[in-house]
């Protein structure tokens, strides 16, 4: 067990590598109740999010659609990354990280007051969240809860549905696999967990969650970006919507392109890449932000912040203890839906 944003969470239940493979090949589940759902309701909810989020909530036209976005400060630094779910222009739900939840709420509330907008922000600490991920995940969820099938069977990736009994089923996740993230009243969560375990969904801990998201090319807040990081140097340009003249917080600070870019590394020599290791390239030094062993690739992989001009296919070296290990620069992600892409 480890402390994670103030929550006691298991790093693994048994073998972390087996938990990883279970998600890639069949189905695994994560208790992600540490993440906080925040409901935004009111006539100005849409206008508020257009101003607060770096991605554009006007992309959300169909009820239930989800969008990944950064919450930026005025300097363009990343306060948090989150998923916003759209239900109607006066009702959205955000799901934010545990370690940043209090900071996010304070920021949102202060901006709401400053803008004088009509909406309420309701943190939903009454909800637990269970992520069931893997190629068999949805079928197993419906097997455990047949009454949910009708409302969730038609969901496309990155869509969600509000079900009775304060339950929300979203076809989202943090693994690169198909599956659901299910929010439900905390009191109902243990029973769901037990029912899923009984039909073969493997409990998985933070360790497998980290290697799965690493292979899937998904950033981890606090490690790959924070308030001092330019999101354009953290592989997040695709989430910053600068089309038109929408005036979102942080936009002005992002006018110049940063000198660094985020790319993937696959280790060519034997060893393990880890965060903070120094990368040497012909265009100067860089740094690994997240690294580890990728069980699907059976090789070590990393995200690295590298100088501009370094391109895919280049070979760089990484200082590991007293050795310079060779690594190949690749495009992210490494793995998607069970398939190795690099």
């Amino acid at each position: 067990m480890v402390d994670f944003g103030g929550w006691d969470m298991p790093l693994h239940y048994g073998s972390q590598i087996e938990e990883h493979h279970a998600v890639r090949r069949e189905a695994g589940m994560f208790d992600v109740s540490h993440m906080l759902a925040v409901d935004l309701a009111g006539p100005d909810a849409r206008a508020f999010l257009l101003r607060l989020l770096a991605n554009n909530v006007d992309k959300l036209k169909e009820p239930g659609k989800a969008l990944y976005s950064c919450l930026l400060n005025e300097a363009g630094g990343v306060i948090d990354d989150l998923i916003v779910y759209f239900f109607d222009p006066e009702f959205y739900r955000l799901v934010v990280n545990a370690g940043t939840a209090e900071k996010d709420l304070a920021w949102l509330e202060a901006r709401r007051q400053a803008l004088g907008q009509r909406l309420t922000l309701t943190p939903r600490r009454d909800l637990a969240i269970i992520a069931v991920q893997g190629p068999k995940a949805r079928e197993l969820v419906w097997q455990a809860r047949p009454r949910w099938r009708a409302d969730s069977e038609a969901l496309r990736p990155f869509f969600s549905a509000m079900l009775p009994e304060e339950t929300m089923v979203a076809r989202t996740g943090y693994t690169g696999e198909d599956g659901f993230e299910i929010s439900l009243p905390a009191a109902a969560a243990p029973r769901l967990w037990q029912d899923l375990a009984a039909i073969g969904v493997k409990p998985a801990g933070l360790g497998a969650r980290d290697t799965l998201r690493l292979e899937a090319g998904m950033n981890l807040y606090g490690q790959d970006m924070d308030e001092h990081t330019n999101p354009l140097a953290a592989g997040l340009a695709w989430t910053i919507d600068r089309a038109g003249d929408r005036d979102f917080i942080g936009r002005d600070a992002l006018a110049t392109e940063p000198a660094q870019q985020m790319l993937g590394l696959v280790l060519l020599d034997r060893g393990v890449l880890r965060g903070h290791q120094v990368v040497n390239t012909e265009r100067g030094a860089g740094e690994i932000t997240s690294g580890g062993f990728g069980p699907t690739l059976n090789q070590s992989i990393a995200f690295a912040r590298l100088p501009r001009g370094i391109t895919l296919g280049d070979t760089v070296t990484v200082r590991v203890r007293d050795k310079d290990l060779r690594a190949r620069v690749v495009k992210l992600p490494f793995v998607r839906q069970g398939k190795i892409l690099v």
């Binding site: 693994h12 972390q16 360790g207 290697t211 034997r270 060893g271 393990v272 062993f293 070590s300 203890r321």
Partner: protein, 126 residues
């Protein structure tokens, strides 16, 4: 805790065994592999390297972290376990079968002074 009585131990979680020819076989304990989790990389010392007792001489890396391995006694490295280069998970399967390296000790008294199983368990429980 799995700590065979026939072996000697260190506080830094190595095990050592004196063979009939006087050489010392070294690995990491079952308790250590359990703490570290799934092993993904092992780096053994070079054959011929002369080690002092307590010197950092090898590295085991699990999915969680890298961890140094220290020489339990002084001596010269005679042989390393090549199997661990391709199958580091052998340490998780049986930490006492998956030896890392063998030493020719040059201070035989050091081996006798290592922890016995009971003393290691007590130290590991602290």
């Amino acid at each position: 805790m799995n700590t065979p009585a026939a072996l000697k131990y260190t506080k830094s979680h190595e095990w050592a065994r004196r063979e009939a020819d006087g050489s010392i076989t070294v690995g990491i304990t079952d308790h250590a592999q359990e703490l570290l989790g799934d092993m993904v990389f092992v780096e053994c010392p070079e054959v011929g390297r002369e080690l002092k007792q307590g010197e950092e001489c090898a590295v085991v890396e699990s999915v969680k972290a890298a961890s140094d391995v220290y020489a339990p006694v002084s001596g010269v490295v005679l042989e390393t376990n090549a199997l661990l280069a391709t199958e580091p998970e052998k340490i998780n399967e049986d930490a006492y079968a998956a030896w890392m390296f063998k030493l020719r000790p040059n201070q035989p008294a050091e081996y006798d002074a290592l922890l016995d199983a009971a003393a290691y368990q007590a130290a590991a429980d602290e």
